[in-house]
Symmetry: C2
Subunit: 220 residues, 2 copies
């Protein structure tokens, strides 16, 4: 009986968060309202309050739920792949697909959340900043691992990993932003071209990478 | 007498927009409210309504006012400079200063506005998209002009101008976003390094560009 209640609570939590990540992606985290969510989903307002406590807790739980979706779509599929520039490029392809197929209807959840909460100090901003820092560190780790696996040319300057990670992430995020704003898949090709150009110039075996990114279809 | 009324109206309009660009920069365009603005500024609500008509008109006027500030800080100072990679780099330095000195308290107004309205079709999104497209075209034009002025190496592949403009803008926007989110000026150096690396590799006279960007001080 107690187990059944816990399971129902978890189920409600998942239902609420599946809705809030979508809403927040287009309307922002600030627009979330426990009462409205309860109404939308036909749940009791007191039940939703009991699960989340406050709007701020709901916002933070929403950021965490979005991070889990992101990890499942972008990070986990490359988990078993051996280190190298091929793995780095596969990670970028997965990110571009995550953005282009509108996993979140407003594009990358963390780009939007950073724009919305970047200048509002508090626990929500801290959670968004932490999620973005984890992603940056993950990209840097893949580049470090590729270097240790001998994937970069030895006749050139050592790869400046944080700089390269920054440039890769910058290209992907602008593609996301411009594609959403102009309803246009072309920016993904620009981002892919830029990333491949950078990786091929540094790779010990550039032929293991494609010369051009594969075309991205418009969503829908 | 009629002239006095027009002048007072223009003055009120400027006062309102100076406030709304700041508010929208941190809290978003959607949070603007004619009533609240009137209250904040001690103006009559009906007077503010008479000037702007609707929240949507106020949002669009706010985007236009932000574009005028951007043009004055970033575009106009290079207007007289002769075409070349030096002018392109100066434009980037001005953009970085515009972001780093928090011209708008939330960082680049147009990055935030794109994140907020990117997936909300309508006249506000159209105005934001147009402002961003104008900026992209301006950067592309400077690169075209630099090419025509012989600023790029002739022993290399011709410069792909839209690709290069995309990469430059991507680096600057991620620097803006990360700097605001983490209260950290370091991303500006990353952006500057990436842009200078790209421009120096393409320039017929790379020594006309610095090797490293100058350090950006934290705001405040």
């Amino acid at each position: 009986m107690a187990d059944g209640r816990v399971e129902r609570g978890n189920q409600t939590r998942r239902t609420v968060l599946a809705r809030t990540v979508e809403l927040a992606s287009t309307e922002g985290l600030e627009g979330l309202s426990l009462g409205r969510i309860a109404g939308d989903l036909g749940l009791s307002k007191s039940g939703v309050f009991a699960l989340f406590g406050s709007k701020e807790e709901l916002q933070i739980a929403t950021v965490r739920a979005a991070a889990a979706v992101f990890a499942a779509q972008v990070v986990q599929p490359v988990h078993e792949q051996p280190a190298g520039v091929g793995k780095v490029w596969r990670l970028c392809e997965l990110w571009i697909a995550y953005s282009a197929c509108r996993t979140f209807p407003g594009g990358c959840f963390f780009r939007s959340a950073a724009a919305e909460f970047g200048s509002r100090p508090g626990p929500v901003r801290d959670r968004v900043a932490a999620a973005r820092a984890e992603w940056t560190q993950y990209v840097e780790q893949q580049l470090h691992d590729a270097g240790r696996a001998g994937a970069f040319r030895e006749d050139a300057e050592p790869v400046a990993v944080p700089q390269l990670a920054f440039e890769i992430i910058a290209l992907m995020e602008l593609a996301d932003s411009e594609s959403v704003l102009h309803d246009d898949p072309a920016p993904y090709e620009r981002a892919g071209r830029g990333i491949l150009g950078r990786l091929r110039a540094l790779a010990a075996a550039p032929d293991e990478l494609p010369e051009q990114p594969t075309a991205v279809s418009p969503p829908g």
